[in-house]
Symmetry: C4
Subunit: 275 residues, 4 copies
């Protein structure tokens, strides 16, 4: 009979439900525990980078780091065991992230003191997205994502224009300030130009000649004005997206969604929506 499964399969399906899904109580508990573990491990990575704390609690941090690594390793093995095609999982985006989040600690045994392993450890943070995939924030995130995706091209054009402006104005400022007052090279002048145009304004480099300050004023007002462009793009797109998403009726004939608010016939198959 079909319904009787191989016990191993049954066990695997159960494991899959707990680890990969969040519909059961065990699944939810697992997810919450995982989020706490991830955040705690990131928190330890941060504290470890603070010199005075590291000098004092180096031992504790090491022990905690190994506890996290062992737990994440067990989770990684369980994930491999719970899926039917492990190869598929191992090479997936999250599979690679899962591996990268335990590997550095093991590697540090052979390559002591390697700072670069630190950043790999902080990749654990990305694993949080998997857990959030299962929550009720998904639809909100999707509207944001689809708005950004839909205005992708316009934003590219805008960023390209910003890119050209900063190169040209950066070169001009390099000439005007005469390689002094921090404008020691064109790349540095471009860096200053980005700092100014985005209204960040560190002040580590700032013009001191009259002409330089005049051009800087122009760049600032330009930056102040063109910030309106991405805002306008996203707002228009979000307005459209929010209109598309409000109406939830689907055609009783072909199942298509996304009808206009006052639509009476399906735009795809022409079937009446009210029958």
């Amino acid at each position: 009979m079909k319904k009787e499964e191989h016990p191993e399969n049954q066990w695997r399906r159960r494991l899959h439900e707990i680890i990969f899904e969040a519909d059961t109580t065990e699944g939810k508990t697992f997810d919450v525990a995982l989020i706490i573990l991830i955040l705690a491990s990131i928190f330890v990575v941060m504290l470890e980078s603070v010199r005075p704390l590291d000098l004092r609690f180096h031992k504790t941090f090491s022990v905690l780091e190994w506890i996290f690594t062992v737990l994440f390793s067990i989770e990684y093995i369980l994930r491999i065991l719970s899926v039917k095609r492990p190869i598929h999982y191992i090479w997936s985006f999250y599979g690679v992230i899962d591996l990268l989040s335990v590997l550095p600690t093991y590697l540090s045994l052979f390559l002591p003191g390697s700072q670069f392993l630190l950043v790999t450890r902080s990749l654990r943070l990305l694993r949080i997205f998997r857990v959030f995939k299962l929550t009720r924030f998904v639809s909100e995130a999707n509207i944001l994502k689809s708005s950004l995706a839909a205005s992708r091209r316009k934003i590219t054009v805008f960023l390209f224009a910003v890119f050209l402006i900063t190169i040209i104005m950066g070169t001009v400022m390099y000439l005007v300030e005469g390689g002094q007052n921090g404008f020691t090279s064109i790349p540095r002048s471009i860096y200053w130009c980005i700092v100014t145009l985005t209204t960040v304004g560190y002040g580590d480099i700032s013009p001191t000649t009259v002409l330089g300050q005049f051009i800087a004023s122009f760049i600032m007002i330009l930056g102040y004005g063109i910030i309106a462009v991405p805002t306008g793009l996203i707002t228009v797109e979000m307005t459209r997206q929010s209109k598309l998403h409000t109406n939830t009726q689907s055609c009783p004939n072909c199942g298509y969604e996304g009808h206009r608010d006052n639509a009476e016939f399906c735009y795809h198959c022409g079937h009446s929506l009210h029958s």
Copy 2:
């Protein structure tokens, strides 16, 4: 007879009208006097914190502080007397604030020099909200509040994304700048990253390596771009809210809606809207 009240009740109702409401002349006068008192007492707290002024006018400030405290204490007692269920008021949000705004001065007799009492005193400012609750700005504040409440979830998703970006980019900058130039630990790098992404840009920490400045440029342009996201969210929500709040009258003849606010005749059939 029902209409004849116990004299004490009558007196309490009268007091309640003056203190808690703003419909009568006395009630309004009381509210205005209270706002002036609160602002004056906050002003004294501020001046007291300026060392030179405190050295010179310490006596005056102390006297003023005690006058305010005594007046607020009397008000607190009157509020308790004027309500039927004092316990209910005492444990309400404003009841606690009212108590916290007089307590520090009395406590300072026993715990001299405690700086922390200062901040409690500035909680008096929150009492202003009670008075404003009664003004005509309520509907405006409500539109703002409901817009923010409705886009609450999208803003949470956005802030979570910002949070992840700052942690990841902060860690990267810590590695790139090699623990120097102010990037002495990951939390400090994250602090710098927030300063940059929000386009504040103090300049107390700023990258000096070429790669660091390159990544910083990327973060700035990112921050410049994603400021559009909350703006878009709030704008879309406010558009919807403002549509909900416009007039809801429909023509008694043809049923059309969407009339101008001061319309007297239907724009579609010409029928009077007020018949």
Copy 3:
């Protein structure tokens, strides 16, 4: 006969046409000349404030200043002569501005070296608005003005909220940083809080304690987020204004304007708009 005017009146009307209006060629020439004079005089005021230039060209600046003053004085007298009720003009907003823009130079004869007269001279700039009142930018300026006026109350509520946030967070930062690192008094902390919340970020004062930087991060993200509020308010209002202003039809019966785009009957008198 009515049409024959007193010669003096005729001459006054002619003068009024040139000075106060811009319909004739002479009127336009006068306006352009006035704008150039105003800008030139402001430019001289600016250059005069630059120490090295003033030391070298003090004589030239003085002569130019007197030429401008004499010309503006003649204009002022002509304006008085050209109107029927001079008193009405003299006490009007622009009348006072006109007087204030010549007075300082005469006063400087008696009160030499008074710096304060400088700022009064720069009030001449306000006179430019009178000239612009007559140009084709009026309708654009009106849409901006009416949008701002319509969202006046919401902006007041918003600014009041910002005001409260800065006072509370300023006090908290004063306590957290312990009166050091530039946070030497509550007013100064509030100043820092405004600098941070508005994403200006001078960096003259910046937190150095861990808790201070944590709270500062919070204020920055708050400021980054609530900038969306005024933007949303203005955008919604401008959308409404631009809709009201696009349609130019007026009722053939009562003359009311501002009809809906697809209106067929006047919203005020019920008359058909298409007859």
Copy 4:
């Protein structure tokens, strides 16, 4: 016969197709090669401006610069040859840019060390626009351009208001700070005012008097608020533009408009839109 062309014409048309158009494989290859060459030459200009790199690789940079110049010169000659009316091309915008991007290197033989030639070389960047003219980003760029063009007048009014505010507040700050703390002249104070109003905030000049900080706070909040104005203007205009650019099809049966982009049937009467 008409179809048989003079061999020289045929060869010219072929050249024109490759150089000026992007429909053929050769045309596309040429465009991609040109973009790479332009970016590489700009990159060399940038590196050359970095003192340490220039000292070490001066020879290499010179050689590369001459290679780029020769290649661009050949391209320029080919462009002249491939068009029927060379004079027309030579004096066109892109013709001048093309010449200006090779001239500086030749001139540097006679005018060694002239820094100003550098900026002319970076004009090569503008040539990228010609290539992009042929891509699919054109329609996106057009929407941005027409939105900006349509709100041109309103933005002018806004910028004029900003200009007046900075002049007046700059003069006031000059007086308040008494020509000290960096506010050494009115133009410098205006520069500071622009830095503050646009929320850039370098911190190279910042007020230190109490009154100065108070006025600065006011300017900051003003700048924070009026950033909403250009944003609102652009958003409203983009909303209108995006509506203009959506599909214009109307139902052949009932005439209703506003169909979804991929609609096949009318949402109102159910009639096919493609019959």
